[in-house]
Each structure stands twice: as C-alpha cells, then as structure tokens.
C-alpha cells in the first residue's frame, strides 16, 4: 500500500506494473548543510541536491567531491573543457553511469529529497522521472508516432486515444508537431538531424519526466536547428528542470539561468549565468571562458 501511494509522485508510473517498482525512499539526511557558494535561486525550489559526489572509473577519479544544488524549473548549464567530468556528472543524475563497468559512486544525489542511489530505487522509474537527450539524435527505426508512443506503451498505456493525446502533446512541447503532423507514420529516420533531435526530446517528454538532462543536444546540428533547440529549451524551462552539458559557451550563456564550471573533476564555480559570463569570481573560470586556458 505504501508503495502504491508513493507511486502517485512518479509521473507516468502505473500501479499495474507495480510489482517491480519500488518507490524512491526519503533520504535520512534530508536536511543538508547549505552549500556555501550556492547562488540565490530567487523563487525556485531546489530540485536536485548533490552532496560530496565522487565518481571513479576503476582507479581514475572522474568527479571529485562535488556538492551542488540544481533549482527546479530552471535551465542549468554545465561547462568545462573536455575530460573535466561534466558528462559524467550529468549521467550521475539519472544513474546512467551504472552501465559503465567498474564505476563507483560516492556521496548522495537527492531528487525531490529522495536519494536516487538508495538500493531501493528502481532505476527504470528514476530514468522515467529524469529523461535524457544525447549528443547524436538516436530515434528508433520506427515511425514518428511509434517513437513517441514507445515509452508510454512500455508503461502499460494501451488506450489508443490516450496515446494519440500523449503523442500530440509531446510533439507540440518539442516544437515539432506542425512539421510532422501530416506524416506521423513515416519513418523517423527520414527527418532532418534537427527534427530527429526534437523527436528525441518529444520521446523523452512522453513519459512525463520532471527533469531533462541534455548532453550536448545541439553539437551535431546546423546553426538553424541549433537555434530551434535553444528556443525549445527556453520553453521547456516553464515545466521542466533542465540540465544541459555544452561545449559551446555562447550556447550556455544564451540558454541557461545558472552555470556550473567544472575543471578536472571539480566544480570550480556555480553561479547565475549572467554573473559567470560577465564577472566570474574564480580565476580558473575567467581563464577558461576568455580562452586563456591551457
């Protein structure tokens, strides 16, 4: 009974698939010490609270004692040079690193106050709440409609009308509906790269996540498609918490509200984007964003 009631908090989770779903347990250290350099989030609530996070790949430490709070319904950009751990950090937020052999994660990551690394957590459920979009668009070799309906179908939704609604809502939210509404049953692979990427975003949105992780979502796109994705990100902030890893500093400056700068596995600076790009506090940040780094 406890499990069923907790499931109400997980969007899209249906009690029918309940026997393998274990709800996220409240973490015993829910009251965290306030991270000293957390910027002022204004009216935004903390969505993800990372404390003392370290990630090891075998003997290599990719993330070193990172503590950061990510605000709800805001866009947080993660920047830093190649190999600084930014993608690893992003993947810890939905436990995508679990798939890497020899990975070890220390510290805690709380999502809405629940520890996502608790042994009771169902990783599939977690990834439903915390969706992800990758660098290269990776649609399934199926129709546009099937791509978006796939997630909800896996959740056990079979009602055609409900699925139609979900597909339309998701495609609209991903700013793709008008371009594909007349060819929903064509192969997703016929779409342009930018459209495929927005389809992948629609697919992630179809299972109603509350957090969307984006790993260089526009890296393989042309400038016009990139602008579309950036516009889309600024719309998504109304309903979702977005965390975006990007190599492109101008993109981070354009789309995000807050920016985290990583260097060699450490979080060097985290602040309002406007501040990071006009008057950063740390010399390392200044050197990196002005190109004096190296």
């Amino acid at each position: 009974m406890q499990i069923i009631s907790a499931l109400k908090d997980i969007p899209g989770a249906s009690p029918s698939g309940g026997n393998r779903l274990v709800a996220l347990q409240p973490h015993r250290h829910m009251v965290q010490e306030h991270v000293s350099d957390t910027p002022d989030f204004g009216a935004a609530h903390p969505k993800i609270e990372v404390t003392g996070l370290s990630v090891y790949y075998g003997k290599t430490q990719a993330i070193k004692d990172v503590s950061v709070t990510i605000p709800e319904k805001r866009v947080t950009a993660v920047i830093g040079p190649s190999g600084c751990g930014k993608s690893t950090f992003l993947r810890t937020l939905n436990r995508m690193n679990d798939l890497v052999p020899g990975v070890k994660v220390e510290g805690s990551v709380l999502l809405d106050g629940m520890d996502i690394y608790s042994p009771h957590v169902d990783v599939v459920e977690l990834r439903k709440k915390v969706g992800m979009v990758f660098q290269r668009p990776n649609p399934f070799p199926k129709s546009i409609w099937e791509n978006v309906a796939y997630g909800p179908k896996c959740q056990g939704i079979t009602n055609r009308a409900t699925l139609e609604q979900i597909v339309e809502r998701s495609l609209r939210e991903a700013a793709l509906w008008d371009e594909v509404k007349d060819r929903l049953y064509s192969s997703a692979l016929e779409l342009s790269g930018g459209q495929q990427q927005r389809l992948c975003i629609a697919r992630a949105l179809a299972v109603e996540p509350s957090v969307l992780l984006m790993d260089e979502p526009a890296a393989s796109l042309d400038p016009i498609s990139t602008t579309r994705i950036e516009d889309l990100i600024s719309q998504l902030r109304n309903n979702y918490t977005v965390v975006i890893v990007t190599h492109n500093m101008q993109q981070a400056a354009r789309v995000s509200d807050y920016t985290a700068f990583f260097l060699m596995g450490r979080l060097v600076e985290f602040d309002a984007t406007e501040k990071i790009f006009t008057r950063p506090s740390r010399k390392e940040t200044e050197d990196y964003i002005t190109g004096r780094f190296g």
């Binding site: 040079p81 101008q250 400056a253 790009f277 006009t278 008057r279 964003i289 002005t290 190109g291």
Partner: protein, 224 residues
C-alpha cells in the same frame, strides 16, 4: 582546445591589446587638444587655436575606428568576462573622449572669437581647472592600462576641486559683469570655457567609473 582555436584566440587578445593602445592614443590626442586649447586662450595664440579646431577630424576618425573595431570583436569573437567588460568599457570611454575633444574645440573657438580683445583679467583659475581635468583624464586611462584602480579614489576630490573652481570663477566673473556691463560678452565666454572644463572633469569621472568596472566587475559612483 585545437591549435586553430588557440591561435585565433591569441589573435583576439592581441587585437584587444591594440584596441586599448589606440584608446590611449585617442586619450593622449584629446588631452593634448585640451591643453592646447586652454593655452591658446591664455596666450591669445590663434595658430594653436586653429590647430585644435583642425585636429578634431583626426580625433573623430580614430573614435569611429575604435567603435567599429570594438563592435567587430564583439560580433566575431563573442568575448566573455573581463574581455567583454574591457571591450564594453572601450566603447563607453570612446564616447567620453570624443566629447572631451569637442569641448577642446569649443574652447579653441572662444580663443578665435576673442582674438581682437584685451582680456578683462589674466587667466589663472581656468588653466588651473584645465590642469586638474587633464590629470583626471590621464589617471583614469593609466588605471585602465595598468588594471589598477587604487588611484581612482582620489578622483572624487579632484572633481570636487574642479566644481569648486567653477563656482569661484562664476562668482568672480559675476562681479566683473555687475561692475561693468561692457565685460559681459567676454565674461560670458570665459564662463562657457569654465563650464566646458567642468564637463571634461565629469567625463574623466565617467571614464574612471568604467575603468573600475572593467577591472573589478563592480560598478562604483565616483561623482557623488
């Protein structure tokens, strides 16, 4: 970072250096123009006054060139942090310096208008005001080049001194005008000159405030 990126970033930083060098050149030009304008007035030197008026073209061209180059760097290099602040500051300072150049020309034109007149009094406070204003200009540009804002604090006192001299000149000229209405034309010209110099000191203070921002990222009001 690939070599190509690094190279173009190095080019960017050397372009930024050149931009600042030329800004200082503009500063030197207007400072000279101001000095010559006030000297020409003090000494009735028409040749010098003519040089100041003619030299304004050079100042205007350099100002436009600096603005164009700043805008190109913004568009092509998308500078961030201190680089961004420096280019924004160059754009603001150019405007102030160009205006100082205009004030110098206006003062030189007073020299031209008073060419045939004997002065009602020797000019003492006006050259003094000019020296302080020039000093303020030089200090703010030096602070920009040296990225050191320590010297800027004293600008507030200097600006006060300029304001004080302005009131003194105003009162003195008023007495002349009340005593003898035939002095009004000339006294008004001198008053206009004092007013130009007071504005120059304000421009120098503006420049200092922008330099403070470029160097520290913080805004400071030096004109209290």
């Amino acid at each position: 970072m690939p070599d190509g990126d690094l190279r173009s970033r190095m080019t960017f930083h050397s372009e930024l250096e050149r931009l600042e060098t030329d800004l200082v050149k503009l500063g030197t030009l207007v400072e000279e123009a101001l000095s010559k304008a006030v000297h020409s007035l003090k000494d009735h030197n028409q040749i010098m006054a003519g040089e100041v008026v003619a030299g304004d073209d050079v100042v205007d061209k350099l100002a436009i060139d600096l603005e164009n180059r700043s805008l190109s760097l913004l568009a092509l290099q998308q500078p961030m942090a201190s680089d961004l602040r420096r280019i924004g500051t160059v754009l603001k300072i150019v405007t102030d310096l160009e205006r100082v150049g205009d004030h110098a020309v206006d003062i030189a034109k007073v020299t031209q208008r008073l060419a045939s007149q004997t002065y009602i009094k020797p000019l003492i406070d006006i050259p003094r005001m000019a020296r302080i204003a020039q000093d303020m200009l030089r200090q703010s540009l030096e602070a920009f080049v040296n990225r050191n804002v320590d010297s800027l604090e004293s600008m507030r006192e200097q600006d006060d001194e300029v304001d004080h001299l302005y009131s003194q000149i105003f009162r003195e000229l008023l007495v002349f005008m009340m005593a003898d209405p035939r002095t009004i034309q000339q006294a008004t010209e001198f008053l206009v000159v004092a007013s130009h110099l007071e504005r120059v000191a304000d421009h120098a203070t503006n420049i200092a405030e922008w330099v403070f921002y470029a160097v520290t990222g913080e805004r400071k009001d030096l004109n209290l």
